[in-house]
């Protein structure tokens, strides 16, 4: 392995400053970074360890919402009683992610920085062409093994899937990333590949995720995360949906609806077309199924991942109907 320097940051400001230097990267749980370093995808000169910074692992929940420190562990947040009761989709997305061992290591902020599992991206010695790693070098995935690649939000430059679960729930409920003072919605935080797939997050040099804020809403309180996959645990989603719903006083008419998709797109995918089609409607299975098809409007497959286009709307519909049943 390449030699690198290791620094232990003493404050948030010191961490930001150190991480702004060329070749420097922040290290939190390390579950993605160490993995990618082993693959030869990331080659940091300096690792700035922020795991000892105090005050960044708090989980605060009140009527207005939740503020979760960037260093809170995924496992802790998943098990937090107020997160479970007020943001069930967030808790469910977390405990269905990765494995128990990884959830106990990985942090919330680090999770947002998780990178794609595209096998071509992760294998630089065998597949030099990857626009995400090396802008302009081409895309090895197109024409290759694509069962796990995205069908939404792709470009000619990149079809790599966003693999995570947490951010799918976050984007559904308009969560906001705190980059120190600056605030960016999770939806805007994740960037579409377009012609610059190497740029994945709206985070600037010298910035650091300090917290994630989720507004408290009725839709978040009645929410769920449904994840479909071949294996029961420790597998990325074939398709997943974070859904939240608020009914009018009649208990049938949809006042507010939140729908986001995972396992199908190049970023956590908010399905506003489904939301718009169903808001104000009475929740009926046929209506929901028809509207759910809008979730994959514009989807493009690359052969082996075609099934995701079939699967995703069914997952969305099931999640919405399941929440309706508990009315």
């Amino acid at each position: 392995m390449r030699d690198f320097s290791y620094l232990r940051a003493t404050s948030v400001d010191a961490a930001r400053e150190a991480a702004a230097l060329p070749g420097a990267m922040l290290l939190a749980g390390g579950t993605t970074l160490i993995d990618l370093a082993k693959c030869g995808v990331t080659e940091p000169d300096t690792l700035v360890d922020i795991t000892h910074l105090t005050g960044l692992d708090r989980i605060e929940v009140n009527e207005r919402g939740a503020t979760i420190g960037a260093l809170a562990r995924m496992g802790h947040v998943a098990d937090h009683a107020d997160i479970k009761s007020r943001f069930p989709a967030v808790s469910e997305a977390l405990w269905q992610a990765a494995s128990a061992q990884i959830r106990n290591m990985a942090t919330m902020g680090g999770n947002l920085m998780q990178r794609t599992r595209c096998p071509y991206f992760r294998d630089p010695s065998n597949f030099p062409a990857c626009n995400k790693r090396q802008p302009g070098s081409g895309c090895s995935a197109i024409g290759g093994v694509t069962r796990g690649h995205a069908v939404l939000g792709t470009s000619e430059a990149c079809i790599a899937m966003y693999p995570g679960d947490l951010a799918v729930a976050l984007v559904a409920f308009d969560a906001v990333v705190h980059l120190g003072e600056r605030r960016v919605s999770v939806d805007d935080f994740f960037l579409l590949p377009g012609t610059t797939p190497d740029r994945e997050h709206a985070i600037e040099l010298g910035e650091m995720i300090t917290a994630i804020e989720i507004p408290g809403t009725a839709a978040a309180r009645r929410s769920t995360y449904l994840k479909i996959r071949d294996r029961q645990s420790y597998e990325f989603a074939a398709a997943s949906a974070a859904v939240g719903i608020e009914f009018e006083a009649d208990g049938r008419t949809i006042r507010d609806l939140r729908v986001a998709l995972g396992g199908v797109a190049t970023k956590p995918w908010r399905a506003r077309a489904v939301e718009d089609a169903l808001k104000g409607k009475v929740l009926e299975p046929e209506t929901v199924r028809a509207a759910s098809l809008l979730a994959v409007e514009g989807a493009v497959d690359h052969g082996a991942n075609h099934y995701k286009i079939e699967l995703a709307p069914r997952v969305v519909a099931r999640a919405i109907l399941k929440l309706g049943e508990t009315a």
């Binding site: 069962r147 479909i228 029961q232 074939a238």
Partner: protein
């Protein structure tokens, strides 16, 4: 080494009971859960260097250049071994003197014949320096197109399949049988390439002292490894000491010494210091064997009563371009179902992969999933319950040879497992059962079978002056429980409590215990152990019954029995004498005895010897998502005498879970353009997690077999995969009405 001592120091509560048939907990369990068990890579002799393989990123072609200077300039790098400076070998690694000798890639030239083939070895003071040195080699290649699929190369009929069986075998007239049939089915099934993925990667720590070689490495066959290394280096086998007390799984991939292990020895020779070499996970996808892909077509005919009139099982498979191992998948149809006409045939292609090798139930596992699926299709075509159909076609003699079975409690397996599972209430038609949550529910079954094989083994027993015993054989514990089961047999053979026996294994300086493979280790080494014990007891009995001072005088050899460290007169158990007393009177400090284990050629000619079983599976399938979950597995197995029911159940559980893995999870996914495997890691090469196997039950069906060997042991290591994989596939059909023809079965196969 203190290992044996530690094994005997367990708390008494873990040693309840003693010998054959007792459910002892693993004698090595405490060492393993406390981290005290030392695996090969845990050894660090003084002055040890680290070696890291540089492996080919192309699939076929040649290495044009390596930046050796850059690697050697990196701090800590001691040497870079390439074809130019690799120490000379006494034998050509591409020579093949016998079918069990596999060609190795030992840097003999610049050719690349598969991905992840070693192209150089970097040796350094630290693992980190060696790793970076390997990266700095920046190889350049001249690449040729990769041939990676079953249709990518010209097909041929191999000269032999498996361990040399005929590629094509006939009994009766298959076409006539099909023609006369009332009902016929024909179906093609595909199984993917699979990799062993033992938790412990292949590792070696090698140290030379002149022409003497000391090795720590996991091995399923110590004497074979010793012989192979001796041949390659031109030294006497007895100059090589291999220690392999524990394997972190083998599954066939550690049966023969692999190329990377030999490269570790070469590296140590090159630098003149001890060297440790451990494969990275992705480096296990190439040089250490795999299960080859298959495409199998089954044609069956049935008469009006559902009796098979013909079975044709054809399998296409693949080997490497440079060696021969052909997965004998179609041979699965030799032993299970009665039919007047049976043809099994194989064809193969040569692909740019590492050579496929033995992988847990080689041929049996791949063949079973296709055969059991086809049997299910045939039963349905006849309108019969799958169990009734199997009973209708139950083989009273081995179908292909006409030999009687040495024992066959398959009917009991069927009935016990079916009853425990609740099979009787199964509707005949698919897609009729739903659970309370709306999941499609399906029940399927499969028949399990695996041959009862024996190899050659030896053991040495010593009875000491204090009446305690020592038993030595170079047996291999790869997690199956050899440390425990063999100690039980040793205690039984010596007529001692297990605490009184010092059992030693896992080292090449002990008698040759044969190979831990083919489900034959317990039978083979177990017989050697038992015979060695018997030899000691016979001498002891001679001493006692021939001495007037002994209370056993005149009883004759047959007139005494050994138990708990004493000899008793058979006709008067009040007359007995301790082993220690007999030795003391004879003025001996110890008695030594030797024993062998081997198949009996006469009974081999006369009888067909197989273990059998029946597996029933319940799956639930989400009707919208095609998401499959196995909710229940019940298996019943008859495999002769059970030495330790706790260990045997574990073997069945492991096999059955592997069956689930075969049906639903495992697949090496290859990029067809480059020939590279895209999921060469444990995150994406899937095996079941605990949540995928919520309920697994294994019933042990009593079976006495007087013909397999004196102990009546058949073997349990591999049978669990067979039957189970097909049972899961058949349950998926029963749940959904969709017949799986490609494995593993995936969500998209069931999205309708």
């Amino acid at each position: 080494m203190t290992l044996e001592l530690s094994l005997n120091q367990q708390p008494a509560h873990a040693r309840q009971g003693s010998s054959i048939g007792q459910p002892l907990t693993r004698r090595d369990g405490f060492l393993k859960v406390t981290g005290a068990a030392r695996y090969a890579a845990d050894n660090h002799p003084p002055g040890m260097l680290h070696a890291v393989l540089a492996v080919s990123s192309i699939t076929r072609g040649r290495v044009a250049s390596l930046d050796i200077e850059a690697a050697k300039a990196h701090a800590g790098v001691v040497e870079v071994m390439t074809p130019r400076n690799r120490p000379a070998l006494a034998a050509d690694p591409d020579a093949k003197d016998h079918p069990f000798m596999f060609r190795l890639d030992l840097l003999q030239n610049d050719q690349v014949r598969y991905p992840n083939q070693t192209i150089a070895v970097v040796i350094a003071e630290t693992l980190e320096a060696a790793t970076e040195g390997a990266a700095l080699l920046s190889p350049r290649y001249e690449a040729l197109p990769a041939r990676v699929g079953l249709d990518d190369a010209e097909s041929f009929v191999p000269r032999g399949v498996g361990v040399g069986g005929p590629a094509v075998q006939h009994k009766g007239d298959i076409e006539a049988g099909l023609k006369s049939a009332r009902t016929r089915i024909e179906a093609t099934y595909e199984t993917p390439a699979q990799y062993h993925n033992a938790m412990e990667p292949h590792a070696i720590v090698a140290a030379w002292d002149g022409d003497r070689l000391s090795i720590d490495t996991p091995s399923q066959g110590l004497a074979m490894a010793q012989g192979r290394i001796a041949g390659l280096f031109g030294i006497a086998p007895q100059n090589i000491h291999i220690r392999s007390p524990f394997l972190g799984g083998g599954f066939g991939s550690k049966g023969m010494i692999s190329g990377p292990q030999v490269l570790g020895i070469l590296a140590a020779r090159l630098v003149g210091r001890p060297v440790k070499l451990v494969l990275r996970r992705e480096q296990m996808y190439g040089p250490v064997g795999h299960r080859a892909p298959t495409r199998q077509t089954l044609r069956m005919g049935m008469d009006g009563e559902g009796r098979l009139t013909a079975i044709h099982h054809h399998a296409k498979t693949a080997s490497s371009t440079f060696d021969d191992f052909f997965e004998p998948a179609a041979d699965a149809s030799h032993t299970l179902y009665a039919s007047p006409a049976i043809t099994t045939s194989h064809e193969a292609v040569r692909l740019d992969t590492g050579t496929p090798l033995f992988m847990r139930a080689p041929g049996e596992a791949t063949g079973s999933i296709a055969l059991e699926s086809a049997i299910d299709e045939a039963a349905h075509a006849c309108g019969m319950d799958p169990l009734e159909f199997r009973l209708r076609n139950h083989a009273e003699v081995e179908p292909m040879t006409g030999k009687p079975f040495s024992s066959k409690a398959l009917r009991e397996c069927y009935s016990q497992a079916a009853k425990a599972f609740g099979w009787a209430s199964r509707p005949l038609q698919p897609r009729l059962m739903r659970d309370a949550d709306g999941f499609l529910t399906g029940w399927g079954m499969g028949t399990a079978t695996f041959p009862a094989i024996m190899f050659q083994a030896e053991a040495r027993a010593v009875l000491k002056a204090d009446g305690s015993g020592l038993m030595e054989t170079g047996a291999q514990d790869m997690g199956q429980g050899a440390w425990t089961a063999f100690a039980q047999i040793a205690a039984d053979g010596l007529g001692l409590d297990i605490e009184q026996v010092d059992f030693r294994a896992g080292s090449s300086d002990l008698p040759n215990a044969g190979i831990a493979g083919g489900s034959g280790h317990t039978a083979t080494a177990g017989m050697a152990i038992h015979n060695a014990g018997a030899a000691v007891i016979a001498r002891l009995a001679d001493l006692a019954t021939g001495n007037e001072a002994s209370p056993l005088f005149g009883a004759g050899n047959e007139g005494v029995l050994a138990r708990g460290g004493r000899l008793y007169r058979r006709d008067d158990e009040s007359r007995s004498e301790s082993y220690a007393e007999i030795l003391a009177r004879a003025g001996l400090t110890e008695i030594e005895g030797h024993g062998k284990g081997a198949p009996d050629p006469a009974s081999q000619e006369t009888y067909a010897k197989h273990a059998h079983g029946a597996v029933f599976a319940e799956v639930k399938v989400d009707p919208d998502f095609g998401q499959i979950r196995v909710t229940r597995l019940v298996g019943a197995f008859a495999a002769g005498r059970v030495i330790n029911p706790r260990l045997v159940r574990s073997q069945y559980y492991g096999g059955m879970i592997w069956g689930v893995s075969f049906a639903l999870h495992e697949e090496a996914i290859t990029d067809r353009r480059s020939g590279r495997i895209q999921n060469a890691n444990l995150a994406e090469y899937h095996v079941p997690v605990n949540a995928d196997v919520p309920s697994v039950e294994a019933l042990l069906v009593h079976e006495d077999d007087p013909y397999v060997n004196a102990l009546g042991i058949k073997g349990v290591g591999e049978i669990g995969i067979t039957g189970t994989a097909g049972a899961v596939a058949n349950a998926v059909w029963h749940a959904t009405g969709v017949r799986p023809r490609r494995f593993p079965i995936r969500i998209e196969d069931l999205l309708v």
